[in-house]
């Protein structure tokens, strides 16, 4: 499966009042190509922190579904965060791992652990009740299950190792992006 195809499958399962935290680099490019649905926080540097940021958002907003689109390199950098997530009261929090086994934005260097690396196995090992790997035709069914059940839950999706064109910087600084996200969330609250 290509990463844009996965981004589109996730998008089909999102509602307008869902919150998304989207990993940087190739994951960001894929979800931007699919097009975000509700308020979406696109990650920037530094790597490694976006799972914990998404967890904090889920803790602050238990009334909304929070989905993290996690790049595999980003998740691997602070892998221990999965233990913290597993122990946290976040039934509203789901993770989809974009797992192609490579640092795509920097030239496709392979991740440590290579083809044996399983984020689903790690998640199970630290206490996730629901964590699976999926590839190709299994992905649709597993995504349906992921969004049908309470979190925290993790779906580790195997992707093709495609090259990623570098994402040019947008017009806004990270401070402005942060403010825009918070205002979008407030507007959503007002509309509810």
């Amino acid at each position: 499966m290509k990463r844009v195809a996965l981004a589109k499958l996730v998008k089909e399962r999102l509602k307008a009042d869902d919150l998304v935290v989207c990993g940087l680099g190739a994951t960001e490019a894929a979800f931007k190509a699919a097009g975000p649905v509700g308020p979406t926080y696109f990650a920037s540097d530094p790597m490694g922190l976006w799972p914990s940021i998404a967890l904090g958002l889920a803790l602050a907003r238990p009334d909304r579904r929070v989905t993290l689109l996690a790049g595999d390199g980003d998740l691997l950098m602070n892998l221990q965060v999965l233990a913290t997530i597993a122990a946290a009261p976040v039934a509203n929090f789901r993770i989809v791992v974009f797992h192609n086994g490579a640092y795509s934005s920097t030239g496709g260097q392979q991740l440590a652990g290579g083809e044996r690396l399983s984020f689903a196995a790690v998640a199970k090992g630290v206490g996730f009740e629901w964590a699976f790997e999926a590839a190709d035709e299994e992905v649709t069914r597993r995504l349906d299950e992921l969004f049908a059940r309470p979190g925290p839950a993790l779906l580790d999706v195997q992707l093709e190792d495609e090259p990623c064109p570098s994402v040019p910087p947008g017009p806004w600084s990270q401070v402005e992006e942060r403010t825009a996200f918070m205002r979008a969330l407030l507007a959503l609250d007002g509309a509810a």
Binding site: P46, G56, A58, A60
Partner: protein, 161 residues
Amino acid sequence: MILEHLKRAGITLVASLPDQWLGSLIKQCESDPAITHIKLAREDDGVGICAGAYLGGRKGALVCQNSGLLLSANALAGIAFHHQIPLLVLAAHRGGFDDNQYYQMYKGRVCEPVLEALGLPHRVIDGPEELALIEDAARHAFLNRLPVVLLLRRRALMGQQ
């Protein structure tokens, strides 16, 4: 006492990693129904959690040893400071005159210069009589949209022991 100041500052989420001097505070955070207490395995995740909580309108604090600030330098500079996201950090200030273990000493030596280099507002709290600074520091953090660090010495965390 420390927890009361945190609650009066509007903080409802505490992410912690233990230190010998933090046992009492962490135990109180764990048992207080007004606090969501999150167990960290690494301190910079706490910076991320507090940052994410702020995006959703909730105020968070990171409770850890000062070595956790050294580890979290990239998260504090790159997420909190650079995105103008406030949080309060309460760190056990190991490695000072009030510590008795050689392996702690580098922390007391390098922590404050590192915070200076990061441009993060910070204060040392020597004893319980200064704990009201917690509320001032939190107000400063959320007013300025910046991480603010309080370094707590043994007497501030452990009383006269």
